[in-house]
């Protein structure tokens, strides 16, 4: 038994040093006025009360929620549909290739992806506007308008994440018993009926995982927004994590940044608890 503890000691040390300790330190600093360069002064809940009156952070919160609401459902749906299609119709070399190809954006650097998509969405000479021009449609100022910039960031995020969740769904679908589908076919169920009556219910645990991961990652968005638009134009693509980064490293308000980080942690925890309750209720109802 002691050997077991020795074996997990390095991972435990890693988790304490790089996960738990920073959370405790951030919590401590969130109650201080700390500018990184000089010592921290205790200020109580001043930082927290400032967050809710700071319109820049409110804008960042709104942008982040919009980003989550747009990105998570679409990437989850697309990953599930593509995985079901590949599992049902493309269990061959072409299907393998497509699965691998769709995983490439996942491993691509966010900085590179942001730079490339910035060119694709370029107003003058960008690929999207060039294609629209072929059909006689006027191009848009995709990344220069507050109406479209955040949607563009969402599109790139979906493009980048679908491959990852597709692989998870694919593995889940391949693990389902084929006899269920055979029985359904014998009873005359169509592909769509099989999908909704067999695949979807059986994939509940995987749905829970994909949605949870999707929500956590979406709330933490920073790199794409930073590289594609740097939070602009104006503040239309500033996210909460960008707000934390700016407060900490550009404005030297580490205490305030820590308060925002703790707030972000609480938001994600609440959402995951609600999600957990929702999925458990559904499971109990199904039983």
């Amino acid at each position: 038994m002691v050997q077991g503890y020795i074996y997990i000691l390095p991972s435990l040390f890693f988790m304490v040093c790089f996960c738990l300790l920073p959370i405790f330190m951030s919590t401590y600093f969130s109650f201080t006025d700390y500018d990184i360069m000089t010592k921290a002064d205790f200020v109580g809940v001043d930082n927290y009360s400032k967050i809710f009156s700071d319109k820049y952070i409110i804008d960042a919160l709104k942008n982040t929620f919009v980003y989550v609401i747009v990105t998570v459902p679409i990437q989850t749906f697309l990953a599930l549909v593509f995985a079901a299609f590949l599992a049902d119709r493309m269990q061959n070399i072409v299907g393998n290739f497509l699965r691998s190809a769709m995983f490439i954006p996942v491993i691509a650097s966010s900085v590179t992806a942001g730079a490339i998509w910035r060119t694709i969405f370029g107003t003058d000479g960008g690929i999207v506007n060039s294609i629209l021009g072929i059909f006689g449609i006027d191009g848009l100022n995709w990344l220069g308008s507050s109406k479209t910039a955040l949607i563009c960031v969402c599109v790139v995020a979906i493009w980048k994440n679908v491959g990852y969740f597709l692989v998870i769904y694919y593995a889940g679908i391949m693990g389902l018993s084929p006899e269920l589908y055979e029985a359904a076919r014998v009873d005359g169920a169509t592909s769509i009926q099989q999908f909704f009556k067999i695949t979807m219910p059986m994939l509940k645990p995987i749905n829970y995982l994909v949605i949870t991961l999707g929500i956590i990652w979406s709330f933490q968005v920073f790199d794409l927004s930073y590289t594609m638009t740097n939070g602009g134009p104006g503040r239309s693509t500033v996210t909460l994590v960008m707000g934390i980064y700016n407060a900490a490293f550009k404005e030297y308000r580490m205490g305030y940044a820590c308060a925002m980080a703790i707030l972000l942690l609480i938001i994600i925890l609440i959402i995951n608890v609600v999600e957990n309750v929702f999925f458990k209720e559904k499971e109990e109802t199904a039983r």
Binding site: D124, N141, P233, G234, K250
Partner: protein
């Protein structure tokens, strides 16, 4: 037997993981290595990707004679420009910052306010002070916190000669009104050309072109007489209204400007009449014949433009300031700087004993006294204030903020969150 090997394997893996973790916790190089003092210097990257010699090679070669003379080491690190300020912050706050640094005026204010920079004034005699052309730019609150090192790169107004000729504009505009008239002429004769362009989609640094020349020419000042930030003034609002009118009243600036982070591309392609650009970037323009003027005079006749005065600074934590100052003087000497200007980047001389070796077109600009030049006086959270101004300027150019709100909004944010008590 097999179990024993498994146990041994598990212990080895666990040890390797611990060793890997602890390796990252190693302390930084000590400042004294086998008796030799080490002075660390951080420079930004200036050499192009196709340069014959890299920044690292250049500075090490230039410091070699001093290393031999003083029997010391100079540890040179080259930082890329992306996240330059954050790298300094991480280094300084973790105790791994440099002894000698290179900072823009915008960056410096916070370090001065936190007493992290040393006063270098006592290390220069009168003759040396007189030799440095821009010495006074580095005097802040009566102390010499900075020695201007890369000075120049003025933001000038450039015009496409072919487009101007077609529009019948025979001379470069020198006032706001003349700019408007010239742009109107371009609109009539070249409807497919953008009369005026701005790279509004970039980071805060673009305020050097997009905001400061107009703000200062309108008579605006970033600081009041007491040294407090005060940008929401009548002059500031006048400048914002002028920019707003360029975009919405006259339609000289295209809506694509808010997603554009490099206006040079369209200028080189012959799609832009006028733009404001740094002189070093002007020299790299290809395929376009251009004319220029230093600055545009605002309503009261003041013509000001941004002039960079990036400086060497001495950190207070430096253990051997005498040696560090010898390095600073050596690096800023005519011999070293003339090589720097030839091999790495063409910039105007910073000392009177260095011959101007730059482009002939800018010789007079940089060798005679110029009232048009203005640089930033360092103040607390300058980068954050200018970031807010940049964001608000983008919002205004999208029609989402009124001109009078741009500077008020930034000023209010600064007063509530960033102003030191």
């Amino acid at each position: 037997m097999r179990k024993r090997w498994k146990k041994l394997g598990a212990v080895c893996v666990a040890t390797a993981m611990c060793a890997g973790l602890l390796a990252g916790c190693g302390s930084s190089e000590s400042s004294s290595d086998s008796g030799k003092k080490t002075i660390s210097i951080w420079f930004p990257a200036y050499a192009g990707t196709d340069a014959e010699v890299s920044d690292q090679e250049f500075w090490e070669e230039q410091l070699e004679p001093l290393e031999k003379e003083e029997n010391c080491n100079f540890d040179v690190q080259i930082l890329p420009w992306s996240n330059y300020e954050e790298k300094y912050l991480s280094g300084v706050t973790s105790g791994n910052g440099p002894d000698i640094g290179y900072m823009s005026m915008e960056m410096m204010g916070d370090y001065i306010a936190k007493d992290l920079l040393a006063d270098m004034g006592s290390y220069f005699n009168d003759e040396e002070k007189d030799n440095y052309i821009y010495y006074d730019y580095g005097t802040i609150d009566g102390k010499q916190y900075a020695l201007p090192f890369i000075a120049g790169n003025a933001r000038i107004l450039i015009g496409n000669k072919a487009i101007l000729e077609k529009a019948g504009v025979t001379q470069m505009p020198t006032t706001w009104d003349e700019l408007v008239s010239a742009c109107q002429a371009i609109q009539k004769t070249s409807p497919d050309v953008k009369p005026f362009d701005m790279a509004l989609g970039g980071a805060w640094g673009n305020v050097d072109e997009n905001f400061l020349p107009f703000f200062w020419s309108a008579g605006g000042e970033l600081l009041d007489e007491d040294g407090n930030v005060n940008i929401d003034t009548e002059e500031g609002r006048e400048a914002m209204q002028f920019l707003y009118d360029l975009r919405f009243t006259h339609n000289f600036i295209d809506e694509s400007a808010t997603s554009n982070d490099d206006a040079r591309i369209d200028f080189e392609a012959g799609k832009t009449g006028f733009m404001i650009l740094a002189t070093s970037n002007c020299l790299n323009l290809e395929g376009v014949d251009w004319d220029w003027t230093t600055a545009l005079a605002g309503p009261d006749g003041e013509a000001k433009t941004f002039f960079a005065a990036d400086s060497l600074v001495l950190f207070d934590k430096c253990e051997d300031k005498d040696l560090a100052m010898k390095a600073i003087k050596h690096l800023s000497s005519a011999d070293v700087m003339s090589e720097f200007h030839k091999q790495i980047t063409e910039q105007p001389p910073i000392t009177k004993d260095e011959e101007y070796s730059g482009d002939e077109r800018f010789k007079e600009l940089y060798t005679t006294e110029n009232d048009n030049f203005k640089t930033l006086t360092p103040f607390n959270s300058a980068v954050s204030l200018l970031t807010k101004v940049n964001e608000n300027l983008q919002s205004m150019m999208m029609g989402e903020m009124k001109p009078e709100e741009v500077l008020k909004n930034a000023q209010d944010y600064y007063n509530e969150n960033l102003a030191s008590e």
